[in-house]
Symmetry: C2
Subunit: 299 residues, 2 copies
């Protein structure tokens, strides 16, 4: 067995690589904004080699995230839910780079909602495998596209994507709702008020969102409070929607994501009266280590 | 009394002016994409004069729309609901232009939802006054920001804005949902499927919208059908939300707006089982004539 491995978590807008010792400890790491969308002409290998320059070329590379998508380095078919460690390991794609590195790509997971509509994830399945400390749980992954994921008997059985993060960005950047926003503050009651409005639902999001405009227009909320109000409104709406799909109270919720996203989401769950906890850090590295062990490339 | 008047419907993204005879007939009209957002340095008068060059300068001008907003020619305070012909007439702002034209600006209308959140319209109130052929009704105004408006005893008593049109534009133009769209067709079941999904609500819009991505990704909906599916999904969600606010079945619905917006919306109402009819054409001109009569500037 080689002395550790390289963990690669390469997403749409970010690159993260970890040099992992045999005992699972992270010895070195690299991060950049070179997500797969910034790589032109399929030149993934040179970007990768430049980022990890100096790391042992004999180490196997275990990778997950959008790098395994059609727009990535190699497309790997989704594993259909239910999918756990065994199914993910069975679905890996192996190849050798031009420079002679062995790369193992972990598949994403797909599922079908009751109405037959597909849903997908790439990368989150690996974080969940890494975060699992029991047979079951309800996980919420924060990011551009948030995922609520039900795990039973160690396998992802169903999940739902919510476009909360992307919706915030496009509404703030490209809609009338961004016009009255001036700076950004977390002070004040804006976030909690937004969460409450989103949870209540009212006449639905297409109506409720207009309050970001009118509260600003009437001077009833400061311009620097409107962004956090919008964020709260979207998150509250997401939680209300997820409650209609999942037995949130039964499971409790494990929240995984960067602190700037996970912390306010936890505040919103608390407002909604939902018990929750943070998942472990570096869940992706832990997940890749488990999958690497399962497929026999790391000890 | 002068021989007719000039009706001006000047919105955020469009300019419309009508030369109206004393009997209410439209003798001439001008339309352009010079909405108030395209006018720089407050130069509304030169744009207006250029558009209506040659029309009798002695005629009074009756105007409504976003031209009366803070970003417009003169800001006119909202009339608070309930507001009908008398309240709108009482709230008009009169001024004389540099060139000596008499202009009468019609106020918009504001209301408060049960939770105290304000809502606003500018221009739609005038269309409703023009479209009213009885003491009460439920009106739906199609546009960037759609309005559902309850009229009782000839007055606008409450209403709700839905950001359906703008949401479609920003999601198509600036989110991942536009990526797989190729051209646009109204053929196929995409629109009806979207309406049904939006009406059902599922886990809410933030989740349901992701189906625009996954149905395309899985090849289960053609790229040229995705735009109309997205449109249907948003409209279905709007109708579901409005039903929670208004007694839709009791009133029946009068739909007002450009045919390219009003016709598909009527299809969606039919799918939802809601009785509806189109409002009269040129409702804004009819409304401005009624208000002009009430304030005594036209005969």
């Amino acid at each position: 067995m080689p002395a550790g491995f390289i963990a690669l978590d390469w997403g749409t807008t970010s690159f993260r690589a970890y040099l992992v010792a045999p005992d699972g400890a992270v010895r070195d790491s690299r991060a950049s904004a070179e997500g797969i969308l910034s790589v032109t002409d399929g030149a993934f290998e040179p970007v990768f080699e430049r980022q990890i320059a100096g790391w042992n070329p004999a180490l196997p590379v275990l990778a997950s995230g959008m790098i395994t998508s059609r727009q990535g380095w190699r497309e790997v078919p989704y594993a259909a839910a239910p999918a756990g460690l065994a199914e993910l390991a069975a679905g890996v794609a192996r190849f050798r780079t031009g420079g002679g590195r062995d790369v193992i790509f972990v598949p994403g997971v797909s599922c079908r909602a009751d109405g037959g509509v597909p849903d997908v994830m790439r990368g989150e399945e690996t974080q969940i495998i890494g975060a699992l400390d029991g047979p079951s749980g309800l996980f919420v992954m924060r990011g551009t596209h948030c995922k609520w994921v039900v795990v039973e008997a160690g396998r992802i059985v169903r999940f739902a994507t919510f476009m909360t993060g992307e919706m915030f960005a496009v509404l703030r950047g490209h809609s009338i709702l961004g016009r009255l926003m001036t700076g950004e503050t977390d002070e004040g009651p804006g976030f909690a008020r937004g969460v409450a409005a989103g949870l209540a639902g009212g006449a639905g999001l297409l109506h409720d969102l207009f309050s970001v405009r009118t509260l600003g227009l009437f001077g009833e909320m400061a311009g620097d409070e409107l962004p956090t109000y919008l964020s709260g409104l979207l998150i509250g709406s997401e939680i209300a929607g997820a409650r209609r799909l999942f037995a949130v109270g039964t499971h409790g919720v494990t929240v995984i994501g960067a602190p700037n996203l996970a912390v306010p989401f936890g505040r919103a769950l608390a407002i909604a009266g939902v018990a929750w906890r943070f998942g472990p850090p570096e869940a992706a590295v832990r997940g890749l280590a488990k999958i690497g062990g399962q497929v026999g490339v790391i000890g």
